[in-house]
Structures are given as C-alpha cells and as structure tokens.
Symmetry: C2
Subunit: 266 residues, 2 copies
C-alpha cells in the first residue's frame, strides 16, 4: 500500500494518452505528469540531448515522490531507457517493450510492421526489443514523420492523408505484414485511415499496453494505492498557445491541475 504517485514524462502532451489509459485501469493511483513542452520535439534532437533532458525529467518526478517512472515518450524510451533505469532506484517502464510483447502475442505469420518518428525507427530500439523478446519475428520499421503534423493539423480524413499513408504503408502490404505496432502517441488518431489501407490486420496501440504493464509491476512490488485517490498533477515546461485544447483531446477529460515548471538547475 503506497500513496506516492506514479511519475510519467513525455517530451510534450502526447503522453497524456498514456495517462488516460493508466487512469482507466488504475483509478486509485495518484499521478504526476511532466511534459517537456519547452524542449519538444525530442525526435529531431541528438542522442546526447535526449539523454540529458530525460534524466532531468526523471529527477523532477523523483523529487515529487514518484514510486515508479513511466517514460511515455518514444524518442526518450528509444535512446534513454537504459541510462534512466541505471540512474534510478525505482522501477522504470518505457513505451516500447509492452507494445512489442503484445504484437508478438497477436501475430500469426510473424511479420510485424512498426511505424514511428524518424528517431524512434532509426534508433533501432524496436528491432532490439523484438530480438530480445522473440527471435523468430520479422520486423519491418517505417519512419512516418508526416503523420505527426497531419494529426496536429487535424487533417484526419483529408485525401492527402490517405495518399501519404498509402506511400508509408506500401512496404507493409507488399510484405504481407499481419500486425502493425503504432510507435507514436499521435498515431492512434489515424486508425481509420490505416484500416482503409491495410484492412483488418492487428493494430497495437502501445499506450494501452503500458497501462496493463504498470498495473502488473505495482502488484508484483506491492506498491499499489488501495484507497481512493486518483489525483492528477500536470507540469509543463512551457505553456504554448493551444496546449489545453490538444492536451484534453489526448487526456480525454478536462485538464484541471496544471502548472508551468522550470527544470533549469535541477
């Protein structure tokens, strides 16, 4: 029994999709969320910079009493998971491994497609995670940076979105992929377009799998919060023009308790 919060960070507010899933599965848990909106996106930054920012984010959450850290950022999980796990004494869960395990459960023909930002795909983090978990899967990665901008522009059913998805997903069709892993917080919003092009293959939304994994870890380590709680505190390193509108779309509920925080000197 532990009332300390779960600490979750992302480079921005996309990680609120992970918060939503965790709140759905674990409504009693208190949560502290940090979105590093002043330095987003991480995908275009160097590996060194992402490591440094990620460590600063994790330290902030620890200073807020986090009993477990979730890295809700794909770029950060891709390049900084190992260093954060080594640096901290609390358990750390990233967004990559839970999705990988689910994709392996679902695939029938062993052919899995992974889509993400350029950094996530080119870092090789997914390939490594798949190899470690099940050697026999054939994994095809495809960087799809335009999907992020299309979601942010709100063009979910623009004809250009379909054309772009056709180009990006063509290799998956040609290779007869039967399971697609959505390796970016923004991509679940494009599910209809994916279905139109790829039909009824399996889709894995990693945010959902992370929630399940967090519940398992808390139970295993007897760190659950048994009593009613469910506080959510949101910290952002910058408050941009429309963060609240976009944030609430990801979170699925009003953002009540948020504040700006500076990580300088931490």
């Amino acid at each position: 029994m532990n009332s300390n919060p779960i600490g979750i960070f992302d480079s921005g507010i996309g990680g609120l999709t992970v918060v939503r899933e965790i709140r759905r599965i674990l409504p009693n848990e208190n949560i502290v969320y940090l979105g590093d909106t002043a330095r987003l996106p991480y995908g275009t930054k160097s590996v060194d910079a992402i490591m440094q920012y990620s460590l600063e984010n994790a330290d902030f959450l620890i200073s807020r009493g986090a009993k477990l850290i979730v890295i809700a950022c794909y770029s950060s999980t891709s390049v900084a998971f190992d260093i954060i796990e080594k640096h901290l004494s609390v358990p750390v869960i990233g967004v990559i491994q839970p999705g990988v395990e689910r994709a392996i459960e679902l695939t029938k023909n062993g052919k899995i497609g992974v889509i993400g930002t350029s950094l996530t795909i080119y870092s090789g983090a997914y390939e490594k995670a798949f190899r470690r978990t099940n050697e026999r899967c054939e994994v095809l990665g495809k960087a799809c940076p335009l999907f992020v901008s299309l979601v942010e522009e709100g063009w979910l059913d623009h004809p250009a979105t379909e054309l772009i998805a056709q180009t990006y997903l063509r290799p998956f069709k040609e290779d007869n992929v039967d399971t697609i892993l959505l390796g970016c917080t923004h991509f679940p919003l494009l599910m209809e377009v994916f279905r139109k092009i790829m039909g009824s293959v399996n889709y894995v939304d990693a945010s959902r799998e992370v929630g399940t994994k967090v519940a398992e870890e808390l139970e295993r380590l007897a760190l659950e919060h048994g009593e009613p709680g469910g506080d959510l505190a949101i910290y952002l390193t910058d408050l941009s023009m429309n963060f609240k509108d976009i944030g609430e779309r990801f979170l699925g509920e009003p953002m009540r308790n948020f504040s700006r925080v500076s990580l300088k000197g931490k």
Copy 2:
C-alpha cells in the same frame, strides 16, 4: 570600415538560406551564425519562451562581436523583434519587413497572400508590417504547417504535396491574389508546386530581400567590411543526426567551421 561580423540567428538551420543570400551579396563580410537547434522549433512555443530564447541568442552573437543582428527566424521576428531592438545597441534586421516592402513593390492589384507557420500567421506580425508600410494593400494570411514537414521529408514532388498545397492556396486563387510572400525559410523549396497551382503570380522569397536590406544598412551606417574576408562561423546548440546534410542544402556550400555551444547561464 569594420571587420566585426554580422550576427545571424534562427531557431534551426533553415536560416542558412539567409546566410547564403548575404554571402552572395556581401562576400567580404564575416558572419557568425547561431542555430538554436536544441530548442527548435519556436513555432510551437509560447510567446514568453520565444522572447527569452531570442534574447539569449542575440546576446550570444553580441558576445562574439556582432556589429549588426539579423533575426533569420520568422517566429522570432514575429514576436520578439521589438524587444530585441530595444535591448541592443546595434542595428537589428528581421525577416518580415524586407519581404513586405518587396511584395508591395510587386503587386499590381494590391492583393497579397502570405504563407507561414501557424505562429507567424496568427501572431499578426505580417498584417501589422503591411499596415505600417502601405495601408491600401489587402493581405490574406494562411498558416501552412504541413509544408515544413513535407520539405524536411524531401517530398517536393509527391502527389500529396500538390493536394495539400491546393487546399492551403485555394483562398488565394479565389481571392485573385497576384503576389505571394513566402514567410518561412523552408518554403522556397516548394516553388514548383506553388507555380503549378497558382501560375505566374509574383513570389517573394524574404531571404533574398534580407540580403539587400543588410547591404543597405551597412552602407548607411558605414559599417561595411571593405577588405577581403568572408569568414563564416556556425554555432549550433545541438548537433542532431542529419543537420549537416540538411544544413548544406540550405547553405548551398559545405559547412566547414561549425561547433556546438551551450547557452545556459548566458
């Protein structure tokens, strides 16, 4: 006669298109360039954050002896030009005003379209600059954030690019705009697509106009470097995966003298 460098900053490496134009027009001038790649893009940040970053960038260039500052970033010029000009004792040139003056020279029917990132357009900086320069022009602004991602993805002639441009530029066609101002460092690379959709209207590439403006200012203030020089030092706050390839595309020559710099504590 003054051998001190011209200082130029941008949120990233897109501002190297401005460097290229200045080097073409003023080959003797020494140049110090700062790209704040660790904190790009500015377009999604708050006004406060952009002001703070812009001041830090300008101070860095002043510490390197800059005799004149060029703000090669549209977001930064949009929201931080006035505060930087007030803060510094050297002349400051932004990317907005020179393009506005050229567009007014070129238009016949007084209908001008401006395209840029969301922040550049919604800040109202272009409208203000047009009103100040010539009250009779009718100015139509259109935020085109997807163009940035398309250029970075290299999809200059993908069918989706044309579809997206058709959507973005439709209001200009309907309104019979005769001059289009490209208010973003990335957009000149899409000129062929614009021509295909809009035909032979006038196009103003602000980077070019900035070069002319800098030459005029240096002459007016007797700050020119008369002797052969032409050193170019490039400072970046982060060295990302492919900055050199993309940077050289914008600069139009090899990037020889570059280094990483940290602005913390400046």
